[in-house]
Homo-oligomer: 255 residues x 4
């Protein structure tokens, strides 16, 4: 079986950089590109699209709140009409840039506070996913495991691909433990690699409180904006390949 | 013969409004929508797309500099890579929103300082129009008369439709007299209507310094952000219809 | 007894206007100027400062969330450190512009969602008002009636001046009825004028549910961004003067 | 004789960082803080003010164009009224934050394209410096050597302190060679240190084309946003101290 390895890229803005996108693109099979709202701008989007295209890396839209200063991590209370509009605007902008550069957008995911709110609440997720489907119903929705997202996506006629966040704690419902809680982010690389090995071995994860639960995924997400991110991404890729699997983007995995 | 009547819409931002878009949409055959850089935001773009679609009004992208505070009227010195990226980003965003709402973008034009710089300099216009063509070579480029634009569009494989700015003075080269010069903007409504009548009668315009020159156009532009804009647009429409022509968008004019 | 008449001004941005600031400045004794975060920019701030100075109108800082697109009306979850920083930044910017133009800032108020959150919760108001006091403890805090604000201001050593929002419904605790509830905003001008007359006659207001409660204020706020705002402000001023009072800014009222 | 050692700090924005401000503050005697227009935001300004205050480092305002995406390095054509307004707004914001934190702003400088335009043209510099003087005539203007700046400052009643940019080439008029020209930025650390040594030894600099000219300065500027910036700043400080001088901010240098 193959598995996708993805990260959030194009998170710079103007002269500011975040993460080593070029090096990561050598390791990943998919990239989720910021679309200019919480991070990113047309120039870095264009460059990242071209590099991903040249390396055969899948291009996805990483859609976030319009809050550059807060990096899209602050909850905002926006109406359904505005939410739908900003989802489609970002998807359209990235897809347009991909098209102009001989590439295409294969998937999308929600960033930061927008993603958390959607993963926690089906009523919140539904209009967002209807907006995605109104733009392009063939886009795969990449998400951490969430019944809310899966059911809202099904209602909108969209396919979800679950991605595993190896450095984040899960609860018994397979939801991510919120960042503000202790232990939510696992910083120790050995522990993270051990979690990847377990996932690859038998498709399970150990929850925050010690239970072992199944975690069926087609994809693993690595974070690109931490120190040592590139070498750590390489280590995860080595684990995948050492397990006999290949790193393959969702668009080229057998259904 | 038919003629198009267009204006620049969706120029509000957040709670701020500019022009009476709803009333103008009843008078126009085409609308050029701001795309969120010099004006506009996803919500007003979405609303304006839906209204234009419902009224059979052609939807175009009005592409500008990333300068909301200056309304895109201040020249900015950007590199060719950034210019191409921001043109495609804006086109993609609007086209995506149109697609999600069962509509399509038929044309584009450049706003403010970006438009002036392109109309004055073929070398400046070329990469801009190559960017347009890379996104969608079927987009019609709507422009005031400009040899620079026409020749750059031809090089990029794009069709230009010249639009007549009835309230702006022209020079002997058929270029707009720059706004900062005296007499560049004609405020008297009767004078403007007289210019429209002349154009409709024999396709000519009287230049800034009194010469009569041919002005072959398929379209007339009205400004929507001035006091009395709506009733004035109606008066121009009445002139067109009184001349025996119909107000028809470019996409439905015979080639 | 004298009373202050104030409104929120300088709410334009770039080419966008909101309200007729010049006309209102002829009617008011105090102006609360947006400081460039939820509305306003350096140019309109500078112009409004000069006009207010020339007319002897008190200048206050209207401090809001950093959300121009949402006009500061959307709740944002910001940490205490960031809140303190953005309060002082805005106060400093306006005070600096006043100083450079031979004027001074006499008071401040919180705008929109920031104001609502502070009026409803003493714990939220306290760090905000400590930030105000750290910048200038002589600034008068202008607020709708709120025990939370009054007690937080007292703790910070600041003076509060309560202002009466004639077109907003109050509850039995003298708090504003939230905008989203029916009847929260009173649109009928005659009803609003009747409320002003009652306040001037015996210092009372009729609450949302019909009770009569005392409303001790030194100031009345009018809204400048509604149709007919200027003539309505004049009508309120006429009521004040007809009651034998003078319209006098807080800085010139006897303590 | 003492000399000041300064750098441009607080150039992060939201989650994005630029340079290691904390480490640099241990080496410098003065810091020029971005004020939220080309870089910086209230939070990083507040933190940097507190750290500079605690270390006895002079605080200056680094005033730039309102162009975060372009980092203030793109020329913008703004009118004199807007320029004056944005200069005072930025000075006021920083000075207000300093005041609220028990510190004060001692100096100011112009950043990027705004600085280049002022250094090259006395007519452009004059209204800018009048704006500075209108806010606080005691602010020292820190500038690379420029007759335009010196004469405009004198006209405005302001004191200029010339700072030496050790890694930038100068021409025979003591003006910086524009960045876009070859050799304008000197990347080799040994060459830069040699230039510092010469300056400290006899107050001279070798120009772009080999001439030796006097360069009377009270201050040296180091760049903080390049790799190795901190250790290089330490090396320059060591050169200064090795020459028998002390690193002393302008505010504590004998007049």
């Amino acid at each position: 079986m193959n598995i996708d390895l993805n990260a959030d890229l194009a998170e710079g803005y103007g002269d500011w950089r975040m993460g080593d996108d070029e090096a990561l693109l050598e390791v990943l099979s998919s990239a989720n590109l910021a679309c200019g709202f919480h991070a990113g701008d047309p120039t870095i989007m264009q460059r990242t699209i071209r590099r991903a295209r040249d390396r055969g890396v899948d291009i996805g839209a990483h859609v976030g709140f319009p809050d550059r200063q807060g990096f899209g991590r602050r909850p905002m209370q926006l109406g359904a009409e505005e939410l739908a509009a900003l989802v489609v605007y970002q998807l359209g902008a990235l897809a347009g840039m991909a098209r102009a550069n001989g590439a295409r957008v294969t998937h999308m995911s929600f960033h930061g506070a927008l993603g958390n709110m959607a993963a926690a609440d089906r009523d919140y997720a539904e209009p967002l996913l209807r907006a995605v489907a109104s733009f392009d119903p063939s886009l795969v929705v990449l998400s951490s495991s969430s019944v809310a997202m899966e059911s809202a996506a099904a209602a909108a006629g969209l396919t979800v691909a679950t991605t595993f966040l190896a450095d984040r704690a899960y609860d018994a419902k397979r939801l991510l433990v919120p960042r503000r809680l202790p232990g939510a982010v696992i910083h120790d690389h050995d522990t993270v690699l051990e979690r990847v090995r377990r996932l690859l071995a038998d498709g399970s994860v150990v929850t925050h409180d010690g239970a072992v639960i199944p975690m069926p995924v087609r994809s693993i997400l690595v974070h690109g904006d931490t120190p040592g991110a590139v070498s750590f991404a390489r280590a995860i890729r080595a684990e995948i390949e050492g397990s006999g699997r290949a790193v393959v983007p969702l668009s080229r995995q057998a259904a």
